[in-house]
Symmetry: C2
Subunit: 491 residues, 2 copies
């Protein structure tokens, strides 16, 4: 197990980095800025994927796959998109290596230079809209509702496991519609799907809102976001859904025959969440002892550890516990029975605590006599001794309770970190002393937004969809405002 | 629907290319050699993935994810591997673009040149073994049984949809073991998993065997393969499983503390199947009317088409059919009820035929009166009129029957295309007149293998695990041989 985990209060950032590695979620690779997602971390991501994929399909979307490499010229077709994405990216310039004639191993073969450079996709709007031109002829081809699960690459200079990596895994939805209204409805629907996923599965409360112009996706007319609050008082953008208007349809000449027999450009959306959610999950619930996972996303929901001396005791425990694991699995609960003789019970307890397994059951010889078991929940660290006859039902109840408890705890924490301020002095003081979301009036200009950012490092996380509608004056400029927006320092 | 499909007998290759596009499986993208997998094709791939993933997990494997980009130097560490893989590959040399000062759009920023070039993974042994060095210390960390679902890239000059594309999707298993025997057992086990998947799900019979030295994976001591036979008499390598010995452990210095407390290099395997299986699936069963899909991998197993005039008839059919779709779905059968009024029944029939939907149900006003339905199966093109009371049960039975029938038909076809020959003249004649597998004696030398290849274009597809053990003399050199091997022209 190695050294103890750094405490959050000591150094939150160090705590996070250590935890991700110690809990076997991910680690840095030998390639700058690129991570290895280890089996335990990947198992959580698979659970996220499965739920999201189900939700996408239930809302009528199909999966497809588009090329990893995008010709450089595609990016230039949508003017604002190229500025946002084509700059910091991995560029493929050659397609062959050869043995160096001077014996220096393998080197790039200069004869195999590409006529046009290819970019590893930082996002796929351009290559996908180049296909949509061929797929869409008439209103009968619409709506086109497609999602892609893929790896993407953005050449980040400062990287952190899950939160900001050069390569990351994500899904990107790309849809085409007959009307503006339908596209906006789709954008909002997918924001809703993301919020539902974050709250019901990750147990992570989010605020739904829209981005200001300067924080929008490059090429979007409007960006809908879900914003979460981490334990250190910094916000995290957890998912975005973009209304793209007719920008990409125009850039890639995607027209359709309308019901009235005219030709018109289609309306578009795109939306995505990524392995960044893994970072958000870690930072939402975990504590100084390690990971805390919501049962709905935990690869192991219950770990059962036998406590024994000698083969005979183990055999008795194996037999007794086999019945419980079978019963639990039949109920769809994922159980790990850990009877490895290469590790001691104390080591195993610490391991499952570190890895955030929601429930741990321990059973020893005395439990066999008394027909009892010890049940420990990871979220509250509470232990109870219960009758074996009640074990399965109690586990079922507790898994639901833990899921709910984590959400409530995170919601309470987040709500306490939303502070209304009405002066810029209060703004700065709250930001430094308390952190969290600052609900304040803003005059609606990019200029003010930029000044607040440069003076405080806080950005407008979103213009919330709900609440905040009241007249007031901008916390910075004093100019009139009709709605409070949420500021925060962010990941 | 466009033009009619080219017939197989006319031009098999053209038939394949047309079918893949017309049936909406995949198409070429604007990027050379890279395909777009369309939703219908991707839905089949997802079904393949789901079954394979289940089989991998049932045999104890976990998924993980490793970086897309691999430093050039990693490839040089395993001598034979670099020759096989590092040559024809996509090379990332820069990490930034910029606006051209002379106004020529965006260009590569020469200041952002990487110190060491990065290769888009053609396969991941090197980057994965670089991680395993950190993960493996003792026998307690073994076996390490990991799989990755990923995109990979090999810069092929001549590409064909699914069969040979620059980018393709695959899974790659990478395992580490204490002993040689255990690693060989794993290699064989995964060959078995692939064979089971090919036969039970794809309904595609395969021959299990090993590759000759010259056809082995670059870096392997032994390559186990499953070989299938396509309708044009050419073989297709459908999956390979490699025993890597200690080659990668030595190249990446992966040692472990043995049970006896010594240090030793671990033993390795790797194994993979790819979207190439999609091509194999298409070519195994499809006919001149379009795709034929085995029910177990068909995204739509039953298409139901109402035949009506006017809203009132449609409403009656909608109601009657709703009960059947519900009942079928409850049994886990995937049903599409196609009551679109934008297409006529005849168009829909042709569409589902082209897309290989195993069963089609048609119901019209007369069927409502007579309590009947028309059921058409895609494999035999047979139709039957049956009582509605028997419909659900009949569909269940037929889906099983179609799955079995496709396998038997393909097996019979394949078995008829295995010809034993004992002279090189017969070899050449059989190859040209009949094609298929040629079972012949071979003297075991790479020299003979190479000569046969250059004279006939036939390669040794495998040394079969079963059968062929008999003394004889090499069909080419006349030298002694103790076993027949299988030759064929191959994809």
């Amino acid at each position: 197990m190695g050294k103890k985990l750094t405490k959050r209060a000591e150094d939150y950032s160090k705590w996070y980095n250590e935890l991700v590695v110690k809990a076997d979620l991910a680690e840095n690779s030998g390639v700058r800025g690129m991570m290895v997602i280890k089996p335990y971390g990947y198992a959580i991501w698979e659970k996220m994927q499965a739920e999201l994929d189900r939700m996408f399909k239930e809302t009528g979307h199909e999966n497809a796959y588009f090329p990893l490499l995008i010709p450089k010229s595609y990016f230039s077709k949508e003017a604002s998109h190229v500025d946002g994405f084509a700059k910091e990216c991995a560029v493929v310039t050659h397609y062959r290596l050869k043995n160096d004639e001077e014996g220096n191993g393998i080197v790039v073969d200069e004869k195999a230079k590409l006529e046009e450079e290819l970019i590893i996709r930082p996002t796929s709007e351009t290559i996908i809209w180049d296909s949509y031109r061929k797929w869409i002829q008439s209103y009968r081809d619409l709506p086109l509702l497609i999602n892609q699960w893929a790896n993407v690459m953005r050449w980040e200079m400062r990287t952190r496991l899950f939160l900001r990596t050069a390569e990351f895994l994500w899904q990107e939805g790309h849809t085409a519609h007959e009307t503006k209204d339908e596209a906006i409805e789709e954008t909002q629907k997918m924001q809703g799907v993301y919020a539902e996923f974050a709250e019901s599965f990750m147990a992570m409360p989010v605020i739904k809102g829209t981005k200001t112009e300067s924080e929008r996706f490059a090429g979007a007319l409007d960006t809908y976001t879900i914003e979460a609050m981490m334990q250190d008082g910094r916000a995290l953008q957890a998912g975005t859904s973009h209304f793209l208007g007719q920008n990409f349809a125009k850039a890639f000449d995607v027209k359709y025959a309308t019901r009235e027999g005219k030709q018109d450009f289609v309306w578009a959306t795109s939306w995505g969440v990524s392995t960044r959610l893994m970072g958000a999950l870690v930072m939402s619930h975990s504590d100084d002892f390690g990971l805390v996972l919501p049962p709905k996303l935990a690869p192991i929901q219950v770990a059962i550890v036998p406590i024994y001396k000698g083969e005979e005791q183990l055999k008795m425990l194996d037999e007794r516990i086999a019945g419980f694991t079978k019963e639990l699995r039949a109920k769809g609960i994922s159980v790990k029975y850990d009877n490895r003789n290469t590790y001691k019970p104390g080591w195993k307890f610490a391991e499952y605590e570190l890895k955030g397994v929601p429930l741990r059951v321990a059973m020893g010889p005395r439990d066999l006599e008394n027909n009892t078991a010890e049940l420990a929940r990871r979220d509250t660290l509470e232990k109870e001794t219960i009758d074996q006859g009640d074990l399965v039902e109690r586990i079922e109840t507790l898994l639901t309770e833990i899921q709910d408890n984590l959400f409530k705890k995170a919601l309470n924490f987040r709500d306490n970190l939303i502070t209304e301020v009405d002066s810029f002095d209060d703004f700065k003081e709250t930001l430094n002393a308390k952190g969290g979301f600052i609900s304040a009036h803003w005059d609606g200009t990019s200029e003010t937004e930029e000044r607040i950012k440069s003076e405080t490092k806080a950005t407008i996380r979103c213009i919330p969809l709900e609440g905040g509608d009241e007249t007031g004056s901008c916390v910075y400029s004093g100019k009139p405002s009709s709605k409070r927006v949420l500021f925060a320092k962010a990941y």
